[in-house]
Symmetry: D2
Subunit: 342 residues, 4 copies
């Protein structure tokens, strides 16, 4: 069975696994007070160009999103998200469960927020004489890449950042698949750019070569107080915090995180080219490691016998879009095998 | 440096690590829909003698406690806990953050709840004509072993269970260190007894040989609905759920969990005997893998240079209690080395 | 200054005020345990044709909405509302603050939910293989009349009720202006119909002749447990509960609530006819006591000097819609005076 | 039947009722944007000697307490309260439902917090190396008079204020019965003193002559942001806000609030003297308008036939304490009638 179902099916990339093995019997203090966490924080600060950034390690994306919004939003504030944003659609209401509304605006070109939509919403909100009766937009949430694999351009990100700053609200970037955004040549946004333009974001590990874990980064520490207690209170503080620190320390040593991203992008590009050559079209133009390919329903049923993938949506009576995902471990052989079946 | 600081300083026990390595490149569905989780659930059900139990794997104790109470308590209900209960004291208010009061009753003999105290509280509550203005006691929470390493006797657990049942409220057992309770000869309570007498409990992995993770068990599934969405909403659902399932599958194969417990208990017993022989006394009689030894403050300062441990509390002007903890990996050599220093 | 700004500017209708004066020095038990509350509950049960209904008196609409949803929705459930629904737009996020998502569907014909939209949403939700990751629709919320004064027809309400029942979720009706819906001849829905077709609703007092207060009604008591403690916990339990009971007792004696509604409707009809005769058009066809009249902006500015009303929205570059509201106390003289100015 | 049950059994004092009648048909804007609220705010500011105080009007004590703590406490903070504090015991867990722990310390002399207890708790908290795992004490809550009618002395209040300030946490005073504290000669604390020494408090109306309502006062506005939206979100913002403003405007005109307090105190003093003369003793020395009288159980049963009052607690096998409460309307004739029965 070929596997293109998603990018969190395997364990850890080899170097991460190796470090976990090597350090298994080390004895360190818990809750992040260990040398691996400290080292990982320094490496991430360096990679972001933010020597004073707050960095915390948590175990999953929904956990990071809900914890960060709980920590940062004030009462009566909500968070602007594209309709298809992960927090709006696929987190079982985790943000609302912390008491905050997700204010959904339309997405464009694969689920991206448009700066002008955000600006209009903010302007209208503050112009409404009854604004105090309405949830105050207190944050802007984007995913990069989006749930559909789309990427913001530098201009788009700058425009969003600029609006957020003029309204003094933080811009939050959900980087569950950040390695794949950074490796793509469809955008020139770097990690330093993100740290400069966003106010809070997370660097995804689970889908990008870690066994599990995400790194929450607050580039300018004045945005929040110390978050230790809040993370603990949310049940999001791993007792053996070093497990997370160690992984990010490894991923941010010698460019491993970038290489993990690059492998997925190169194999996805190869796959996209092959698919195009065979005459299929895409739901949205491929940009990262997720390809949304439109196929006849019969063809899809056949393919299922030998390949694992997700159904995405119906396109018309006869055709649907399927999702094919590459990752840090996908090989060219896998791609060739899949293309041979198409 | 000898390490008796706590039981979550090392990684995983060898067999668990081995399985993580072997299965690293397996590709499984996420969120617990994998064969390792299914197998682990069956093994835990068998070990508990509850073939229909609901079993979920989460990443840490505070997370399990807060998630379970959020799921089970109704609005306006609180949970009865001993004053020293972990939820009352050491979880940054995680239970209250889900909206529920922790109703603290005095602890006895190392932080145990007394059935008669619980009964009196419940009786008085329902006899108060203004009870609807007061938080309703909706659950009883105990830890076994307690935060001070104390164990309930079978009679004590039966008495608590009986009162909870007569008032139709669930009895919750926090088993962060359950392996060490099960292995101790100071109580004859088995896992099957716990599953029979308690209504919800968790089997600790993090402190008992897993890399990380806890198994929440609801022996009689009618207590709650399906908890998947609630766990997801709390950010407590690991995408690579198999990492947790695999560990518990291993721990509950061929008695590994019991062996892990036994090692800690045997080394703790050896240590306790040696300490007693040297004339020290204990804050409370040793029962599991945590020993609370009373020493002169000067002596403690000296010991610190070669041994890592926790300060517990001041006993009098000159003496304090320190905590020494053994675990699944403590060796007799470690014990001898420590005793040589005392 | 003529006042058509809104229907909660004045105090109480004369009969309600008279009873408050007469009973001022009575001494009754607090928290609803008084004869006035008991009598009011019986009168409301009789008017609804539901002899076992649970009835509670609270002080305002946002309070009732948030308390009722907090009480009824289970964790991970949200409430379907039209985009313009009061809970979605004008309650400062009160529902989300209780942890529940408002799932906004498009409104039609003045902010009404369409049964087919609701059905499609529910069907799609349960057909989604990842539904457990998505907020579960656990209630349907409508306002009658809507925020734009529109009314459901009997067929529309029956269709919504039927869908809710086939999916076993409650239908909630926000009746902040219910007196005006009941008095209008644009729909033939009675209070008994509402009690029969909806599962939870409130009868608005504040805007319909009471000094303040709303009556929450749960026609079939098995929907919820006793709500006293939840109402108390939310700070929504008035110590002098009799103040609310007394008002509803009065409003539901000798048809006062209906007469209050009728006055607003008759004067609104008179006003609508006059406005139409003068050649103005309406944003939506007048149905209850709120008229949304389209006017030249210059004309609006002139009118402001002698009449108090709300601006509603811009229609085009030169024209806007204003809102004119009648109530239980509006006189024909007021209408004539206003028409003379148009 | 003589009524000494509690101080919220009657309606409004005559002057308040009169103003409600006179202004009933006034047409004002809602949500506090009316001249009565503005005037009441200015009068309260003047009475407090705080010309910039934030002042809000809410409908009940539990509502004020929970709203204020929700607004002021940061995540992971709790509020220190005496065990018998109203928020700890009699509000159905309203504070915990906002996510915050009530940290209960022992009460003294009728439920008063001792400054040294608070200081020790704060000192120990910050000295604990694991403090980040423990709920941070973020506010101190007291009632004045206490639930047992006891009063803080100026020295006691100064000591509490001083400790709170040295730890930079707000001191909150629950003044549900504040009129009775201010009128008592057992303490010399004035309203200005409270505004100077406390950081947030409320002036009770419901029990002190208003029909209903409480005034939340934040003497130095920098403690919080504008609270309108939070109050609205909590369902605690009355649409006809003027009803509350008008009442407090009246209570703070020509010393009415003080006179209401004085009547209760004078009648309570008369009653206390008579009771003492008849040889009864008190559970705690009478200080305000609540007397806790110890009587034979048989005697209590007899008295019940002609007087309404609360049972308080059992004193020994044969005797119990009952509570007798006077208010703004109690007459000397009432007292004489009661004394004749004792």
């Amino acid at each position: 069975m070929l596997n293109f179902e998603c990018d969190y099916m395997k364990g850890a990339c080899p170097a991460v696994l190796q470090r976990l093995i090597e350090t298994n019997m080390d004895e360190t203090l818990g809750y992040g007070a260990d040398p691996y966490c400290r080292s990982a924080i320094e490496r991430i600060r360096a990679a972001c160009g933010c020597p004073e950034a707050r960095v915390y390690f948590l175990t999953g994306g929904t956990q990071v999103n809900a914890t960060a919004m709980y920590a940062v939003l004030r009462h009566c504030q909500g968070v602007i998200s594209p309709v298809t944003g992960h927090i709006n659609h696929h987190e079982s209401g985790a943000v609302e469960a912390t008491g905050h509304k997700v204010i959904a605006l339309p997405g464009h070109d694969g689920g991206k927020l448009k700066a002008e939509d955000v600006e209009r919403y903010l302007k209208d909100y503050w112009a409404d004489e009854n604004y105090a009766h309405i949830v105050e937009p207190g944050m802007v949430y984007i995913t990069h890449p989006t749930e559909l694999g789309a990427l913001y351009t530098m201009d788009e990100l700058k425009a969003l950042s600029s609006i957020c700053r003029s309204y003094r609200i933080p811009l939050y970037l959900d980087g569950a698949r950040l390695a794949y955004a950074l490796a793509s040549d469809k955008t020139d946004i770097t990690l330093e750019d993100i740290a400069s333009l966003c106010d809070i974001f997370y660097i995804g590990g689970t889908k990008c070569g870690a066994l599990f874990g995400e790194a929450l980064v607050i580039p300018r520490p004045e945005l929040t107080g110390e978050l230790f207690s809040i993370i603990k209170q949310r049940g999001a503080m791993l007792a053996k915090g070093r497990l997370l620190g160690l992984q990010f320390d490894t991923l941010f040593t010698d460019g491993l995180y970038a290489r993990n991203g690059l492998n997925a992008i190169e194999t996805a590009d190869l796959l996209a080219k092959g698919i195009k050559d065979k005459g299929y079209s895409f739901l949205i133009p491929p940009q990262t490691n997720q390809l949304f390919v439109i196929m006849e329903n019969d063809r899809i049923e056949e393919l299922r016998r030998e390949v694992s993938f997700s159904m995405w949506e119906h396109v018309d009576a006869d055709r649907s879009a399927i999702r094919l995902v590459t990752d840090w471990a996908t090989s060219k052989t896998d791609i060739e095998a899949l293309l041979a079946l198409l």
